[in-house]
C-alpha cells in the first residue's frame, strides 16, 4: 500500500489542492449532516416506540359506536375469559384529560395489586410503597406533566375538574423516571377509581379490554370469535399497532427524504458545474500528466479516486457530527420540526439507536448521486486534448 506510487500521488493531489476540494467538502458535509440527523431522529423515535410496544397486550378490544371508540361495559369480561386460548382479560381505564385545546394529560388508572398489562408499569409499581401511595389520593406524573404543573405553581397537587363539574384534588406522589422514553412523558397514573372519576366513567365501565393470547397461531381465530360475539367490538392486535407506528414514522422520514432528494439534486447541479468548468489550473495539470505518459484510463482513475476520498471523508465527518448533534445535544431546531413544537412530549431525550441499514442508506444515496453527477464531466476532462492546453 505505502509503496504504491499512484496512491502517493493521489494523497499529494488531494492535500496540496485543499482549496479545490474544500468548497464541495463543506457543502456536502452540511447536506449530509441535515439528512443523517433527521433520519437518526426518526429511527430513534421508532426504536423507542418499538421497545415500549413490546410490552403492550396482544389484543385490545374496543367498543365501537358510530365509528368512534366508546367505553365498554365491564360485563364483557366474563364472556371474553371463556374463549379458549385467552389467558388474561384486563379492563383498562385511560383517557385524555384536556386542560385547554392544546395541552392534555394521558390519565391512566391501574389496579395496583394485580400484575400490570404493561411491563413498564409493572416495574414502576414494584418500586413504590403501596401502603403509603394508596393511603391518600395520590398520582404519579410524567416529566412533562411535572414541568407544566411546576410552571403553573402546582407544586404538590393538582385540582382536576371532572366532567361532572366537581373538583378532585390529587397529590403529586412522585415523578416518573425519564428512562421509559416517549410514552411516559405526559402521563398521570393513579388508581382505577380515581381515574374513572377524572375521565367521567361510571363504576361499571372501562375504556377497553386488554387480552393476553400467548399462542400466535390462535390469534386470528380468536379475533374472529370476538368480533362475532360482541356486536360493535373492534379488535386491535399488537401487530396492527406496530405496523401503524412504523409506517407513520417511515412516512415522516420519507417526507424528509424526498426533500433531501430535491436538495441533493441542487447539489448535483453545483457539482456538475464544478466539474464541467474545471479551472484552467486543473486542466493544465491533467494535460501535463497526459503529456508525461498518463493514459486516459489513469486520469479517470485518479479523478474517481479523488472523488471517492472526498466522499468518504465528508461522509464520516457528517455521520460523527450528526451523532453528536442528535444524541448528545438533542438536535435543537430539528426536533421542533420533527415532533411539532406544541407537544408536551418535547421534553424527551433521544436514545442512541444506531441503525446500520440507515447509515448505509445515507451512504448509498450520497455515493450514487455524487458519482453519477461527476462521471461524465470527469471523462470530458480526461479526454481533453493535451496539446491545446500545453501551448
Amino acid at each position: 500500500m505505502l509503496n504504491n506510487s499512484f496512491l502517493h500521488f493521489l494523497a499529494l493531489s488531494f492535500f496540496t489542492n485543499k482549496k479545490r476540494f474544500s468548497g464541495i467538502l463543506v457543502v456536502s458535509f452540511f447536506i449530509l449532516l441535515l439528512l443523517s440527523s433527521t433520519l437518526f431522529i426518526s429511527s430513534s423515535i421508532k426504536g423507542s416506540l418499538k421497545k415500549s410496544l413490546n410490552y403492550q397486550p396482544d389484543f385490545i378490544i374496543q367498543n365501537i359506536k358510530a365509528g368512534e371508540s366508546f367505553v365498554a361495559s365491564s360485563r364483557w369480561r366474563e364472556k371474553l375469559l371463556k374463549i379458549h386460548g385467552v389467558i388474561a382479560v384486563n379492563g383498562r381505564v385511560y383517557g385524555r384529560f384536556f386542560l385547554d385545546k392544546k395541552i392534555s394529560f394521558l390519565v391512566i388508572g391501574i389496579d395496583f395489586f394485580s400484575k400490570q398489562t404493561n411491563e413498564n408499569l409493572d416495574a414502576l409499581v414494584n418500586k413504590i410503597d403501596l401502603k403509603e401511595f394508596l393511603s391518600k389520593e395520590n398520582m404519579l406524573v410524567g416529566a412533562s406533566v411535572k414541568k407544566y404543573l411546576n410552571s403553573h405553581y402546582y407544586k404538590d397537587s393538582y385540582n382536576f375538574l371532572t366532567p361532572k363539574g366537581e373538583f378532585l384534588k390529587l397529590n403529586i406522589y412522585k415523578e416518573l423516571p425519564n428512562s421509559s422514553g416517549l410514552v411516559s412523558q405526559d402521563v398521570v397514573i393513579t388508581t382505577k377509581d380515581l381515574a374513572k372519576k377524572i375521565l367521567g366513567l361510571s363504576s361499571n365501565e372501562v375504556s377497553d379490554f386488554a387480552l393476553s393470547v400467548p399462542n400466535p397461531s390462535e390469534r386470528e381465530n380468536i379475533r374472529v370469535k370476538i368480533e362475532s360475539l360482541f356486536f360493535g367490538a373492534r379488535v386491535v392486535t399488537k401487530e396492527d399497532i406496530n405496523k401503524k407506528i412504523a409506517s407513520l414514522y417511515d412516512y415522516k422520514g420519507g417526507v424528509f427524504l424526498i426533500l433531501y432528494l430535491i436538495v441533493i439534486f441542487a447539489f448535483s447541479l453545483i457539482l456538475y458545474l464544478r466539474y464541467t468548468i474545471a479551472t484552467s489550473i486543473e486542466r493544465k495539470e491533467i494535460a501535463t500528466l497526459r503529456a508525461v505518459g498518463w493514459s486516459i484510463k489513469d486520469v479517470i482513475k485518479l479523478k474517481l479516486l479523488e472523488n471517492l476520498t472526498l466522499i468518504f471523508i465528508s461522509f464520516s465527518l457528517a455521520i460523527i457530527a450528526s451523532y453528536i448533534f442528535v444524541f448528545i445535544f438533542d438536535a435543537p431546531i430539528l426536533r421542533a420540526i420533527f415532533l411539532g413544537g406544541d407537544s408536551l412530549s418535547l421534553n424527551l431525550k433521544f436514545k442512541p439507536y444506531i441503525d446500520y441499514g440507515l447509515i448505509s442508506t445515507i451512504f448509498i444515496i450520497y455515493l450514487v448521486t455524487y458519482l453519477a453527477t461527476t462521471l461524465i464531466p470527469i471523462w470530458r476532462i480526461a479526454i481533453s486534448d493535451p496539446k491545446e492546453v500545453l501551448r
Binding site: 409506517s247 427524504l257 474517481l304 442508506t361 448509498i364 450514487v368 458519482l371 453519477a372 462521471l375
Partner: protein, 322 residues
C-alpha cells in the same frame, strides 16, 4: 403501491436504480454508436473521437458494476426490512414471492453482474492489445448488457409497485421447506449423498484451477454452484439456524445470524463467476488472468470453510448432529 413507496429504503433504492437505468440507456446509445461507427483502419477525427467514447463506455460499465453490486446487497436488506409490512412474511423470502417479478429480478440482477464482470475482463484484454482485436465483439456484449440492465429497471419498478401489503404471502418454511415429505433436492439425492457430492465437487473445482484444466473448470463450476445452493439451504443452513426444519436462503442474511448469508452467497457468486471467466477467457483468447484464478480459489475455499465451520461448531457444542 401507496404506503410502501414512502419507506426510506425503497425511495433510496428506487431512485438509485433510476440513475443506473439512465446510465444504462446512455451506455446503450454509446455502444450502438461504437458498433456502427468504429473502423480501426480509418484515421478520421470521428474514429479518434470514438476511441475516447469507448473510454466513457468502460467507465460507465465500471460505475454500473460497483453501484449494482452495492444495490443488490441493499435490495436484499430492504426486502428484509419490508417483511414486517407484509402479512405472512418473516424474511426477504416472503417479500420476494409477493409477486411474480421478485425472483426474476434477483436472477436478472445476478446475471447482469456476471456479464459486467466478464465484460470488464474482456475490455482490459482488448485495451492491452495494439489493434483492438475483439472490439466489435465486446461492444455487442455491451449492448446486450445495457439491454439487460434496462430490463432490470423495468422489473424493479414492476416488482415494487406490485407488492400488495394486504395480501398475505408464504413464509420461507412453506417456500423452501420439505414439510410435505416431498424431496426438494435435485437428481433424487438424499442429504448425505448431497453433502458427499458437494465436497467432491469442491475438491474437483479447486484441483481443476490448480492444475489449469480449463475445460474441467467450465464443467465443474456450474454443477458446484447448483449443489452449493442446495447444500446451503438444506444442510448447512440448518446448522446456521440450529433448527433442523428451517430451510431458507434468506433468513441467514438477518442480524440474528450475523448477516452471514451475505458472505456465503457473495463468496459463492464471485468465486464461481471468476472461475468461469478465467477459464473461458483463457480458452478463447489464450490469455490467463491469474488474479481471477487466485480469487476464485480463495473465495470458494472461504465459502466451504465457513459452511463447514457452522456444522463442526454445532457438533462440538452439542455432540450430536441435526
Amino acid at each position: 403501491m401507496g404506503d410502501l413507496l414512502l419507506n426510506s429504503y425503497e425511495i433510496v433504492y428506487l431512485s438509485s436504480e433510476v440513475i443506473t437505468t439512465i446510465f444504462a440507456a446512455i451506455l446503450f446509445t454509446l455502444s450502438l454508436k461504437l458498433l456502427f461507427g468504429w473502423d480501426i483502419n480509418r484515421s478520421t477525427k470521428e474514429q479518434y473521437y470514438l476511441e475516447k467514447v469507448a473510454y466513457l463506455a468502460s467507465t460507465l460499465a465500471l460505475f454500473l458494476f460497483w453501484v449494482k453490486t452495492i444495490l443488490y446487497i441493499y435490495l436484499v436488506y430492504t426486502l428484509d426490512e419490508l417483511s414486517i409490512y407484509i402479512a405472512g412474511a418473516m424474511c426477504a423470502a416472503g417479500v420476494v414471492s409477493a409477486n411474480s417479478y421478485g425472483l426474476w429480478l434477483l436472477g436478472i440482477k445476478a446475471i447482469s453482474l456476471f456479464l459486467l464482470l466478464l465484460w470488464m475482463v474482456l475490455n482490459s484484454y482488448d485495451l492491452e492489445q495494439k489493434n483492438y482485436p475483439i472490439f466489435k465483439k465486446k461492444i455487442v456484449l455491451l449492448i446486450f448488457i445495457s439491454l439487460f440492465i434496462l430490463l432490470e429497471g423495468w422489473l424493479n419498478y414492476s416488482y415494487i409497485v406490485n407488492i400488495d401489503t394486504s395480501l398475505p404471502v408464504s413464509c420461507c418454511s412453506t417456500l423452501f421447506g420439505n414439510l410435505e415429505g416431498e424431496n426438494p433436492l435435485p437428481f433424487n439425492l438424499n442429504t448425505i449423498s448431497l453433502i458427499i457430492l458437494f465436497f467432491l465437487l469442491f475438491i474437483a473445482f479447486e484441483l481443476s484451477l490448480l492444475i489449469d484444466s480449463k475445460l474441467t473448470t467450465l464443467v465443474v463450476t456450474p454443477l458446484f454452484l447448483v449443489l452449493s445452493y442446495y447444500s446451503v439451504v438444506y444442510f448447512f443452513g440448518t446448522y446456521i439456524y440450529e433448527v433442523p426444519t428451517h430451510n431458507c436462503p434468506f433468513c441467514m442474511m438477518q442480524k440474528e445470524y450475523n448477516y452471514v448469508g451475505y458472505i456465503l452467497w457473495g463468496t459463492l457468486f464471485f468465486g464461481t463467476s471468476f472461475a468461469i471467466i478465467w477459464a473461458s477467457v483463457a480458452l478463447w483468447l489464450k490469455q490467463e488472468y491469474r488474479v481471477l484464478k487466485k480469487l476464485a480459489l480463495i473465495l470458494i475455499a472461504i465459502f466451504v470453510a465457513l459452511n463447514s465451520s457452522y456444522f463442526m461448531l454445532y457438533y462440538i457444542k452439542n455432540g450430536v448432529l441435526l
